[in-house]
Amino acid sequence: MGVLVSKDSRVLVQGITGRDGSFHTKLMKEYGTNIVAGVTPGKGGEMFEGIPVFNTVVEAVDETGADVSVIFVPARFASSAIFEAVDARIKLIVAITEGIPVKDMVSIMRFAEDKGSRVIGPNCPGIITPGECKVGILPASIFKKGRVGVVSRSGTLTYEIVSHITAAGFGQSTALGIGGDPVIGTRFVDLLELFRDDQQTEAVVLIGEIGGSDEEDAARYIKETNYPLPVFSFIAGRTAPKGKRMGHAGAIISGSSGTAQSKIESLKEIGVKVAKIPSEIGRFLKEEFDAG
């Protein structure tokens, strides 16, 4: 089980012959991900690590029935690659690429709505359903199959927290990073909904950071839907200065909105336990499940 990707996912790699694409295709394949096709315009007909390469996504889909695509295409061409995946009716598109113009993402999201595709990212580490399928660049070794759903706006911070979850004796149903840009395809609320409907998931860890109002929206959603699963959270950036972009375009406190304080308070108010330091997440889970 888990959400979005599983052993049944048929994964296409866009930019499979590029530097990052080829490296991570090998790692994903090693993990057991069912990679059925790659796309690099001009290399159609070739093979890469036993995987057929196509010129266009529509051909790849026609020939292999791919239903998940992961984007390793460089920033300048990445938006066109995502458009192509959406147009070919790929249901789930995981955009790893960093640096895609925000305006392009605005158009892509409009197009994806029209066509019924879900985009994760861009500028994200990907998604893993441990023991089944890894799509992206997450380090496989720290993950373990289990009952905690993990969703994060960050990359390495996710690994940090997942390592505490695993160390505390809990595995993950699915873990993913949703990306650090202002305009992203999938948000906390979407994942909360998916995790709620997943049999395997018994708790959700929500890793937020400064910027935007995704955490506040999640808090509202948890309250309004009387969310049935326990949710634990960590918010990065309590010491971040106002008006400074902390690494990626989404992490910026602009004016009075987007502070860690606002997010932490919104979550605490509705009963979500918010960790002060990453290791606390492990403790929270132990308390929850040792008591229950």
Binding site: P101, K103, F111, R153, T239, H248, S279
Partner: protein, 381 residues
């Protein structure tokens, strides 16, 4: 990327938004020349990348040539919130009848552009949004169609009931949206959009924030860069693939990943320390980057200890260790070094450090790292 008012107005002018006659100057003499071309009176405005310049004397109305010279001399070189004014804008003084606010912003909630308009122009719009939210009218644009003429007209009717005025406002809104689109902006704002006593509309002040991700499509925007000293350092770091922001504390951090880097600062603070910086070396494994990172750290003389907090994923711990060893050597660093290496090739990395003979404090967890770095920073000058 932030740009100056006068640069934003150039972008607006290209799409046909009417702005007052104006020119820039970097000296009082130049300012007088510009003022002569325009005709008195003129408004002299400091060009700096912060708001609130008016309150500290960065905007002046000059009625005579003497005043132009006087005010230009006064404003040039002025310090506004830590920034030195090096450019001033001299603009035709407009006899103001009414001040409106027009803005376009990329809205994260809806993933779409949002138009905002208000009759409360000329003041801080965030303040208006807080105190009297009903005075701001919003409209979410469907990016598939852009801002349609009737939608601009509907917004305009919330600002005026005179059809002659609404047509002009609506046209300007469409041009503003166009400017926002063609410039790949994340914000495009006219505040105030002024109706003059003689019945014309002018964009008196302009603000545009450009999307850094889209700058590759606008090579001509490169020359609009005007960084402060701090921004210059941040930009230099960026050009080396680093994300660096200087802070007030004394513990220098080198981290991979923005979220983890913020958390590293938070954890230091949590245990009573003060981070000297935010520093993200990104996802690469280039040992060279470690050297660059340390160089940036060392610009800050307040740094008393250095903490490497690396969670290997794409980044390999051995590469970080190699870079660290050679950099410490090359740069002759004698500050205490705390290193946490975990994840990909962790063992290899630790071995390199152990064999280097360097005096390194190896730690296993973030808590331990923070505590050690704080302890080692104490008592040092």
């Amino acid at each position: 990327m932030k740009i100056h008012e006068y640069q934003a107005k150039k972008i607006f002018e290209k799409v046909g938004i009417s702005i007052p006659k104006e020119g820039v100057a970097t000296s009082p003499e130049q300012a007088m020349g510009v003022a002569r071309d325009i005709g008195l009176p003129v408004v002299i405005k400091a060009q700096v990348h912060v708001g609130g310049r008016g309150k500290v004397g960065g905007v002046k109305l000059a009625r005579t040539e003497e005043e132009v010279k006087e005010f230009a001399s006064m404003i040039l070189g002025m310090d506004i919130k830590g920034l030195t004014v090096r450019i001033i804008l001299i603009g035709q003084a407009i006899d103001i009848e009414r001040e409106l606010y027009l803005g376009v912003i990329t809205d994260r909630g809806s993933n779409r552009p949002v138009i905002m308009v208000s009759t409360e122009g000329g003041v801080d719009i965030e303040g208006v949004a807080k105190k009297t939210p009903e005075k701001i009218h919003r409209f979410t644009v469907d990016p598939a169609y852009g801002l349609l003429p009737h939608q601009a007209m509907n917004l305009a009717f919330s600002l005026s009931s005179e059809v002659k005025e609404t047509r002009k406002i609506a046209t300007t809104l469409q041009k503003l949206y166009q400017a926002y689109i063609v410039a790949d902006a994340s914000l495009a704002e006219i505040n105030p959009f002024v109706l003059s006593r003689d019945g014309n509309f002018y964009a008196i002040d302009a603000k545009v924030v450009l999307d850094d991700n889209a700058l590759f499509r606008h090579p001509d925007y490169e020359k609009m860069r005007d960084f402060t000293h701090t921004e210059k350092i941040e930009q230099e770091a960026k050009e080396r693939g680093l994300s660096y922001i200087s802070m007030d504390g004394n513990i220098g951090c080198v981290v991979n990943g923005a979220g983890l880097a913020m958390t590293t600062m938070d954890v230091i603070k949590h245990f009573g320390g003060e981070p000297a910086n935010f520093l993200d070396v990104g996802g690469s494994s280039d040992p060279q980057k470690v050297r660059h990172a340390l160089q940036f750290l060392l610009i800050d003389e307040g740094v008393k200890s250095i903490w490497f907090n690396i969670f290997g994923g794409i980044t390999r711990c051995d590469d970080i260790a190699l870079g660290l060893v050679s950099a410490v050597d090359e740069l002759g660093i004698d500050l205490p070094l705390v290193v946490r290496l975990i994840g990909t090739n962790e063992k290899k990395g630790k071995k390199i450090l152990a064999e280097s003979g360097l005096d390194i404090h190896t730690v296993e967890t973030m808590e331990e790292g923070a505590k050690t770095a704080i302890r080692l920073s104490e008592g040092r000058k």
